[in-house]
Amino acid sequence: MNLHEYQAREILQRHGIPMPAAAVAASPEEARAIAARLGGGGKVVVKAQVHAGGRGKAGGVRLASGAAEAAAAATQILGMTIKGLPVHKVLVTPAAEIASESYVGIIVDRASQRPVLMVSPAGGIDIEQVAAQTPQQIYRLAIDPRFGLLPHQALGLGFKLYPGLGAARAAADIMQKLAVAVYAVGASLAEINPLVTTPDGAVVALDAKIVVDDNELERRPEIAALRDATAEAPSEVAARKAGLTFIKLEGTVGCCVNGAGLAMATMDLVKYYGGAPANFLDIGGSSNPQKVVDALEIITADPNVKAILFNIFGGITRCDDVANGIVQATSRFPLRVPLIVRLTGTNEREAVEILTKAGYSALTDMDEAVKQAVERAA
C-alpha cells in the first residue's frame, strides 16, 4: 500500500527525522491559510498528494509567492488528474533554501533477502535514473535485521554524502531513524529524496515516500487506516472488499482465473492469440460461489469488455463452486457479452453439467477457450 507524502512525513517526523513544517489542504482556502501561517508571506511549495510518480513533470508541484498565489496554485492542482488518478489534497510547505541534495532510501531487497540502505550524493532525481546513468554514485549496505543499522555503518555512509563530520553525523542519525521506522510501520520501501543541506548547515528531509507491505496491514490497523480509497481505481477498491485481486487493463477480454500465475499466463495467451486482456483477476484458492458473483460484477462494469473468459484449474478450488457462481450471477444480472468457460480438475464433470443445464458450454482446453474468447471479443 502506498502512503501519501503527508502521511509518510508524519511517520518520519514521529521517528525524529527533521523535516520542514508542512500541512495538508483539501481546498484553496485551506492552502491559503497554511501558506500564511507557515510561509510568513514568503515562498511556499504546493505539492499534489497522489499515488503516481512524475507529479512534478505533470504540473502537480508549484512554487508560490505568498498566500494568494498558494491558493491559486492549489486551485490548479486540486482536481487535476495525474496518470488517471484525481488529486484531492495538496501539501503546503515553506520553500527551503537548498545547498545540496542527496538521496537516502531503504528497500527490502530480494537478492540479499535483507533491507538494503541506499544512499547517493545525486539526490533530487529519480534514483532509478541515477542507477542507470551513474551507478558509481549509489552506495549500498545490507542491514542485518538482528542488529539493525549499526552506528559505524550509518556514519560510513554519512561520509559518502558529506565530507564534514557534523553533516555526516546528522545524515547517519537520519539513516538509523529511517531503519527503525521501516520495521515500525512494516515498510517495503522508505525513501527521502531529496535529503538536503540548508545554507546554515542543517540536514533535513524535504520529501518522504513510504510503501507498506500489504501483508503488514492486518497486524497494523493504525497503518491500514491510512489507506486512501479515493486515490485508487473504484473497481480495484470493490475487488479488494470482495477478497479478490483485480488490476484493470486496457483490453477487451475480461479474465477470471484462479491463481496469480495462471491468471498472468491466461492474459499472456490472450495476447498470443491476438487479443488484449481487460484485467488481471485472481479469485483465489478456495472459491465460494459468492466470489464468482462479485468477480463477474466487477468485470462486467468495464464497458470495454467484449467477452468474458473463465480459466479455472480445480485443485483446492472446486470447479462446481465456480459453475454455481456463474449461474447465480448470470441469473441476477444477464450478461451483455459472450461468456467462455474453461474448467478442468476437481469436480470438473459436475461443473460441466451445471453449466450445460444453464445453457452455457464449458471447455476443458485452455488454448481453445482463449482462442474463442479472443474471436468473440474482436
Binding site: V108, R110, A111, Q113, R114, P115, E128, D144, P145, R146, V182, Y183, G186, S188, D213, D214, N215, E216, E218, R219, T245, I247, L249, V257, N258, G259, A260, G261, L262, A263, M264, A265, M267, D268, L269, V270, K271, Y272, A276, P277, F280, D282, G285, F313, G314, G315, I316, T317, T344, G345, T346, M366, D367
Partner: protein, 289 residues
C-alpha cells in the same frame, strides 16, 4: 529417485487441526505420505483422524514420532514463528504453504534457517510432490504421474496446468516443487536445478518463472555454467503492467527491471527452451530429449 522428499519422508504438520491443515492432512494421508505427527498448541494428546498423534510443540513431535520434515498451514500472523519453531526443533526440511507473511518477518527467518543448515521451501507456495512416493503440501496428487521430468515453479495453479500437460502426454515427473510467489523465499530456482542435476532419475527440468526479481536470470546463468540436463522454461506476466503487484507479492516489475521479456531473453541466451505458452512444454521437451 526424486529431490527433497521421498518414501522416507516422515512428515509433521503444523496446524493439523485447522481448516486448511486438516483438509490437506487428509489429502496427504490418502496419497500415501507418511504423516507421523501433527502440532497444534493446546491439542497435544489428541489423535487426528484416529491415526496421527497431535503434539503441543514441534520439538515433542520430533522427539516422539521421529519426524524429519515439517509442513506449515498456520495463519500468516503465526507462520514466521512456526518456521522458527520447526527449524529450532532440528528439522532439515520445512515447507511453508502459508500466504501473507510480512516480508520483514522473512528477513529475520532466513538468516536463522541458514545458520541451522535447514532448507525452507516457500512461503506462499503449493509445496512439493514426488509422485507415488510422497506429497507435502497442496499439489493435487491425481494430476501427477511418476516419471523423469523435474518441475520447479513460483506459481500454484499454473504449475498444475503444466503438470497436467506433462501427465496427459506421457511425461511423468520425478518431483514437482513450488518454490513460492513471495519476494523472499527459502529455496530458489538454482537450489532446485542443482538438486535435479544431481538426481539420477531426473532427465530434464521444466522451470516456471514470472515477472519480478532476478531469480530466473540467476537460474539461467547456473544452467549455462553447470547443467548438463535439458531445461525448458516459461515466464508468466508478459502482459503485466509495470509497478503493479500481480497477485503474488513478488510478481511486480520494478521500474524497468524484472520484466518477462528480459527473463525470456536470459533463458534463451542460456540455451533453455523458452515456452511461449503452457502448451509448448511437451513439444519443447521432445525436441531436447
Amino acid at each position: 529417485m526424486s529431490i527433497f522428499i521421498n518414501k522416507e519422508t516422515r512428515l509433521l504438520i503444523q496446524g493439523i487441526t485447522g481448516r486448511d491443515g486438516s483438509f490437506h492432512a487428509k489429502q496427504m494421508l490418502s496419497y500415501g505420505t507418511k504423516v507421523v505427527a501433527g502440532v497444534t498448541p493446546g491439542k497435544g494428546g489428541q489423535l487426528f483422524e484416529g491415526l496421527v498423534p497431535v503434539f503441543n510443540t514441534v520439538a515433542e513431535g520430533v522427539a516422539e514420532a521421529a519426524a524429519n520434515t515439517a509442513v506449515i498451514y498456520v495463519p500468516a500472523a503465526a507462520a514466521a514463528s512456526a518456521i522458527f519453531e520447526a527449524v529450532d526443533a532440528g528439522l532439515g526440511l520445512v515447507v511453508c504453504i502459508t500466504e501473507g507473511i510480512p516480508v520483514l518477518d522473512m528477513t529475520k527467518v532466513i538468516p536463522f534457517v541458514h545458520e541451522r543448515g535447514a532448507r525452507l521451501i516457500g512461503p506462499n507456495c503449493p509445496g512439493l510432490i514426488s509422485p507415488s512416493q510422497s506429497k507435502v503440501g497442496i499439489i493435487p496428487g491425481n494430476i501427477c504421474t511418476p516419471g523423469k521430468i523435474g518441475v520447479v515453479s513460483r506459481s500454484g495453479t499454473l504449475t498444475y496446468e503444466i503438470i497436467h500437460q506433462l501427465s496427459t502426454q506421457g511425461f511423468g515427473q520425478s518431483t514437482c516443487v513450488g518454490i513460492g510467489g513471495d519476494p523472499i523465499i527459502g529455496t530458489s530456482f538454482i537450489h532446485c536445478l542443482s538438486a535435479f542435476e544431481a538426481d539420477a532419475e531426473t532427465e530434464a527440468v521444466v522451470m516456471i518463472g514470472e515477472i519480478g526479481g532476478t531469480d530466473e536470470q540467476l537460474a539461467a546463468e547456473f544452467v549455462k555454467g553447470g547443467m548438463t540436463k535439458p531445461v525448458v522454461g516459461f515466464i508468466a506476466g508478459q502482459t503485466a503492467p509495470p509497478g503493479r503487484r500481480m497477485g503474488h507479492a513478488g510478481a511486480i516489475i520494478s521500474g524497468s527491471s524484472g520484466t518477462a521479456a528480459e527473463k525470456m531473453r536470459a533463458l534463451a541466451a542460456a540455451g533453455i527452451g523458452v515456452m511461449k505458452r503452457p502448451a509448448d512444454v511437451v513439444p519443447l521437451l521432445k525436441e531436447r530429449l
